[in-house]
Amino acid sequence: MRDLKAVGKKFVHVMYPKKSSALLRDWDLWGPLVLCVSLALMLQGGSADSKDDGGPQFAEVFVIIWFGAVVITLNSKLLGGTISFFQSLCVLGYCVLPLTVAMLVCRLVLLAGSGTVSFIIRLIVVVAMFGWSTLASTAFLADSQPPNRKALVVYPIFLFYFVISWMILTFTPQ
């Protein structure tokens, strides 16, 4: 129960990001796991003309999120960041929450129809959530980086959430 509360508190922190060292100290990877699995599950059931012409498979989504988060963490540590490995994984994983919400909204919108209007709605939602994710994670991670390398650390985070947003936006149901 205590763990569930901790996870829930972190979700709230992500939706209303403000600098909080308490959040960084008590890292956990339950939240990121739950988010990753639900995002990967929601990205299933996409259309494909042939088997390998469609969207990402479950394993591909999983690998992209976890491998991407590990690479970004290593990158920031190699550039001289002071954050610990698992703290950084924790922050990057939790900041996938806005994009998971976007995926949920997209699937609901797609139930209603898949024309131009639905695409525009989905585009706006995904872009907004992408911005939210990137800003939330940089709010948490920026302080631990050396000052003249902040852009070098933020750019891969931007690329990471961009790729996830792309996967969400291009999801087309069967």
Partner: protein, 276 residues
């Protein structure tokens, strides 16, 4: 700058003074984290300068000596390759969308497997070609050719790929002449930086070797660009016959204008019936 801090498990070692003296980095063990930190010892403005330098071929200025200055990094090559991979996959997918939207039989698909293919292609190019070139130059060192360290070679190649990123994005514009022009400009700029970098090394080795090496470098670089364009992107319509459903469902766009016209299918598609 190299961080000076408590070293792990090395009591009584004057690490501070040895690093300050002579400005040389103490070679660290391959298995420590600090070994790899040395490859990421760059600031934002340095990375930006190197990217700019990779697309401006200046005859007197060698990229390795002028820009890298004994501080090659792996940040640039790695993230430029990653960006290029996703730029190719996303742009290529969008080019299919804009080209084929008019056709009623078209059904959009994200073509996610292109990411894997692009990643394999770009990262192999960025590591194997420098490896081969470095190996060749080391082998020829006895004949008078110079050599850079492996890391410097990888660094030059990685940064030279940055010219292809805006090219890949601009290939969305569906004008065939513009796409080939962009390809030519990007390949020319980055390949000349590469050529200028390696020219001084092989100059002493004899005319034949020099020309062969420079030609190989330039042609591989151009070949990469042409291959990516043909494979990932939908070719804009030129003066070709009306596309058949066969072409819209198959992913190999490179064969679009050169596909062998099978007599059987063509006759039935054009509406004439075979004589029974």
């Amino acid at each position: 700058a190299v961080t000076v801090g408590p070293e792990e498990g090395e009591p009584g070692d004057d690490t501070d003074t040895t690093e300050l003296l002579g400005g040389q980095r103490r070679p660290r063990s391959f298995w420590t984290f600090e070994y790899y930190q040395a490859f990421f010892d760059v600031d934002t403005h340095q990375v930006l300068e190197r990217i700019k330098g990779s697309v401006t071929p200046l005859p007197g200025k060698n990229f390795v000596r002028h820009r890298l200055r004994n501080n090659p990094d792996l940040y640039g090559p790695f993230w430029i390759c990653a960006t290029l991979v996703f730029a190719l996959a996303v742009s290529g997918n969008l080019s299919h969308l804009t080209e084929k939207q008019a056709s009623p039989t078209y059904h959009y698909s994200p073509q996610f497997h292109n990411v894997t293919i692009a990643a394999t292609l770009i990262y192999c190019y960025a590591w194997l070609v420098p490896l081969a070139l470095w190996g060749f130059l080391r082998w020829r060192q006895s004949h008078g050719a110079g050599a850079y360290s492996f890391l410097e070679t990888v660094c030059v190649y990685g940064y030279s790929l940055s010219a292809y990123i805006p090219t890949a994005v601009l290939w969305l514009i569906p004008a065939a002449w513009l796409q080939w022009l962009l390809l030519a400009v990007a390949a020319l700029l980055s390949a000349s930086v590469l050529a200028l970098t390696f020219w001084p090394l092989v100059r002493a080795d004899g005319r034949a070797t020099t020309l062969a090496v420079v030609a190989a470098v330039v042609s591989l670089h151009t070949l990469l660009a042409v291959g990516c364009k043909l494979y990932f992107f939908q070719q804009p319509p030129s003066a070709s016959p009306a596309p058949s459903p066969f072409h819209t469902t198959v992913g190999a766009e490179g064969l679009h204008s050169h596909a062998p016209q099978l007599p059987g299918t063509n006759i039935s598609l054009l509406g004439t019936h075979p004589v029974r």
